[in-house]
């Protein structure tokens, strides 16, 4: 399922898309710049929780979005933990989770149409489309990951990161190809 705008009357729905995009970029940057540690871990989780509350939407919608990205977050956190230790792994995990949640809140409270018209995206159609597609792609990828996991479970296979990763990458690349075809299938001058 692609994360879609949900009609609502909360404060985030009323904010201009430009402001939301800038806030998204600024908070994401701030999260990345925070030094690793228990404090940063707590900040990441607080940002994620605050974004869910501020969205003013039925909690189930954003919780489902969050649960879908959780396998990714855990995978990234585990990989960083493996290479750089537990402190860095947990901080990275909470940062990525917070950014995923912020992206989800942004797409749920902002029409893509408004994102495309926001400054500075309205200055370049290609840039705007790229950002819109990226925002759209996040929940799509999480859904693909879930599909692979379910398909393997339905065949009685034990969960395994190694077994899950390859079909997930193949499906993701196939999806990227499909999106490319779908975009070119629209009426555009021949290349």
């Amino acid at each position: 399922m692609i994360s879609a705008f949900v009609t609502g009357a909360g404060p985030l729905h009323r904010l201009p898309a430009t402001l939301k995009l800038l806030a998204f970029a600024a908070i994401s940057l701030a999260l990345v710049l925070l030094p690793a540690g228990a404090w940063s871990f707590a900040v990441g989780l607080t940002v994620a929780a605050s974004a869910i509350v501020a969205a003013w939407l039925p909690p189930r919608i954003l919780l489902v979005d969050t649960l879908r990205v959780l396998p990714f977050v855990l995978f990234i956190a585990a990989a960083v933990w493996w290479f750089q230790g537990i402190e860095q792994g947990m901080t990275t995990g909470s940062r990525v989770l917070a950014i995923f949640v912020l992206a989800s809140v942004l797409t749920r409270t902002t029409r893509v149409e408004d994102v495309l018209q926001a400054w500075p995206l309205r200055l370049s159609e290609r840039l705007g489309l790229a950002v819109a597609l990226t925002l759209t792609m996040i929940p799509v990828l999480s859904d693909l990951g879930r599909q692979v996991w379910l398909a393997q479970r339905s065949r009685g296979l034990r969960p395994s990161l190694r077994r899950w990763l390859m079909p997930f990458i193949v499906l993701s690349l196939k999806h990227a190809d499909d999106v490319d075809d779908a975009l070119r299938a629209r009426v555009r001058p021949r290349e």
Binding site: I2, V112, E125, T136, L183, R184, A185, R186
Partner: protein, 218 residues
């Protein structure tokens, strides 16, 4: 008018050694308003359509209208934006229209295709029939000179098949290149070509080509 001259497409062979020919030196001139492309599965008819539509590159040359819309057989592969309204609005972007004009034209296109009630729905929550109507709406919104439809009714129930068919064959519809296994639909075209094993083996009035193809299936 579509002119295809010596178009060939190759793909790596399954064993990884060498290549297999998908489309073999296809040459044709299509001047009819509606042309059907018929042939068995794997014959290369979809590849020919994609070559004409500019979705895949080939050897040889293709001279086709500037504005082409492509309709896939799998309607789920067509939407790009999250909601129905946003997906149709995308077709109006890049044409120098103001935001208000885009909104107005999107609403009008949705109404024309009876999709207004679904405007706020997620594209991927729609049925196959609704998705194909959306895909057709989004493509026609781009005002194409030619629509290439690759088995556009194969995923649809009877009602949606009729709706899509009627749109494609409407008097005011753009020119049509229709890849289909539905021989009744192919017969409604003015002209048809038969593709066999990557080669165009016959071109002529749709009835005659369809009759020859049907005979070859017996």
């Amino acid at each position: 008018m579509i002119r295809v001259q010596g178009a060939s497409v190759f793909a790596p062979s399954p064993d990884g050694r060498g290549s297999v020919t998908i489309l073999d030196d296809a040459t044709c001139t299509l001047a009819a308003r509606r042309t059907a492309v018929v042939g068995e599965n794997g014959s290369g008819k979809s590849t020919l359509a994609r070559v004409i539509g500019g979705l895949i590159k080939s050897e040889g040359s293709v001279d086709a209208p500037e504005r082409i819309g492509f309709l896939f057989s799998n309607p789920g592969a067509q939407p790009v934006m999250p909601t129905v309204q946003e997906d149709v609005a995308l077709s109006f972007r890049g044409r120098g229209l103001s935001r208000a004009e885009i909104r107005e034209r999107t609403a009008s296109a949705l109404q024309e295709h009876r999709l207004t009630d679904l405007a706020e729905h997620s594209c991927h929550s729609l049925s196959s029939g609704q998705q194909q109507r959306l895909a057709l709406c989004a493509i026609l919104a781009g005002e194409p000179e030619l629509v290439i439809a690759d088995e556009p009714t194969s995923f649809l129930d009877g009602r949606h098949r009729r709706i899509v068919r009627d749109r494609l064959f409407a008097d005011n519809a753009p020119d049509l290149l229709l890849v289909t296994h539905d021989l009744e639909l192919a017969s409604r075209c003015d002209e048809a070509i038969l593709v066999e094993a990557g080669r165009i083996t016959m071109q002529g009035p749709a009835d005659a080509v369809v009759a020859t193809y049907e005979k070859s299936l017996e």
